[in-house]
Amino acid sequence: MDYLGQDRREGLGRKANSRVLLFLLILVSIFLLLSSLYSAQASVFQKAREGVLDATSPILELFSGPIAAVNNAIGYVSDYFSVLEQNKALRDENAELRQWMNEALELRTVVAGYEGLAGYQAPPVAKPISAYVIGESNDVFAKSMIINAGRRQSVESGQAVVDADGMIGRIVNAGANASRVLLLTDVQSRVPVYIEGADAEGILVGRTRARPAIAVIDSPDEIEIRPGQRVLTSGAGGVLPRGLPIGLIEEGNGDITVDLYANYVRTRLVRVINYSFPAIDDASPLIDGASPAGAAGPESGRADARAAAGEG
């Protein structure tokens, strides 16, 4: 204890420690902060982020395995005490799902019939890339996760990421072997969505709270939004496929918030949706000339979506 506070000039800073340097570094940080405000997409910053992702991903991977194992074990123990209620809930859910399955099988034959009609072109199939969550920013104002798949697995910036429950976010940085997922709750997250049943399109805006809000609503008619309606990706902008489940409307009218299907505390295995929007050339001749909003070329659509998403 006697030693504490004595200037013994032994640490790293015995030569370099001065108030001037400290002040200078504060100025550098503030300059960085201001420049990232105006040019978050600057290639230098992107390169730095991707470099750090690649460099740290082996370390994160090393630690995240045991952490997940411990969390799972704790989960098993707490599940053990509620096993009876869970069993009952699952049996009820199973009965309900069986009904849905029958309905889905019926619908499948109906759809197959329609697909056999002339002039039908199947929409492009999204190819999922599986990955594990190896990192998560424990930061209140920056909600993101790091996954162990990157450009080498053909992950690209802008792609949607889903887990077993629903969409969790989009890729914002793709390194060679690891990428960053911006979660739907992050304040920078913007995702074009539509509300099933209300026939309304909008933008889902993150607010750092657990429940993002739908900010801009676009609908030709008077819209009626009720709690419990499903919210899905609309595919506007042409980067995300249409129809990825996001959540349920929680409050009708006023502040429209969405209760996400994804439970970020449990997210571990995710899929990146590698989706390319159909180019105008190989689209059906039916939309020639008419060119609905969704059928814009992939490049312009992508740029729009980037602008709307405000990534970076």
Binding site: R8, R14, L32, E136, S144, V187
Partner: protein
């Protein structure tokens, strides 16, 4: 012990606080999800920066603080320079009040840390609100800072032991 080994050991000792800060950053970017995500992860680098800025600034030179903050920004995906400036400003304020803290009771230092953590949160909140254009909710940040303040006595005691018994051991 040979001359070389001793040199290496001394370098490692000198770098220990910096390495601890970097470890704190690593903890902040792992999917820990303490108590099913109910317990926010404490910001250990803030404790490290505060402790060594008070007791032995030579072990926590400003370039180290800058690197710790910058790495945290890069790993958590926030705007670059945010945490770097928060930590550096904390160090600036703390080193200017150093003579007050030295030799005081731990309770007083803890209170000082609480003040430092609260002002750091205010700074974070202000900058992030300005950058995103909306007033962000404060609840989550206060929770995380509360967790950080609560762990300070524990980590402070551990760091005191480490500093006086290992780092300063000739």
């Amino acid at each position: 012990m040979g001359y070389r080994a001793e040199n290496l050991l001394n370098m490692l000792k000198a770098a220990t606080p910096t390495l601890l800060g970097l470890f704190g950053v690593l903890v902040l970017s792992l999917p820990l999800r303490l108590v099913e995500g109910h317990l926010p992860t404490p910001i250990i680098p803030l404790v490290v920066v505060f402790f060594w800025s008070v007791y032995s600034p030579d072990y926590m030179p400003s370039p180290s603080v800058f690197i710790i903050g910058l790495l945290q920004d890069l790993l958590t995906g926030g705007p670059l320079g945010l945490w770097a400036s928060v930590y550096l400003v904390t160090q600036f304020v703390v080193t200017s009040q150093r003579s007050y803290f030295l030799g005081r009771e731990q309770k007083v230092v803890w209170l000082g840390f609480t003040l430092a953590a609260v002002s750091a949160s205010l700074m974070l909140w202000l900058v992030m609100s300005l950058m995103s254009g909306v007033l962000l909710p404060l609840g989550g940040l206060l929770g995380q800072m509360a967790a950080t303040i609560l762990i300070y006595p524990l980590f402070g005691a551990a760091f005191r032991e480490l500093h006086s018994r290992v780092l300063l051991e000739a």
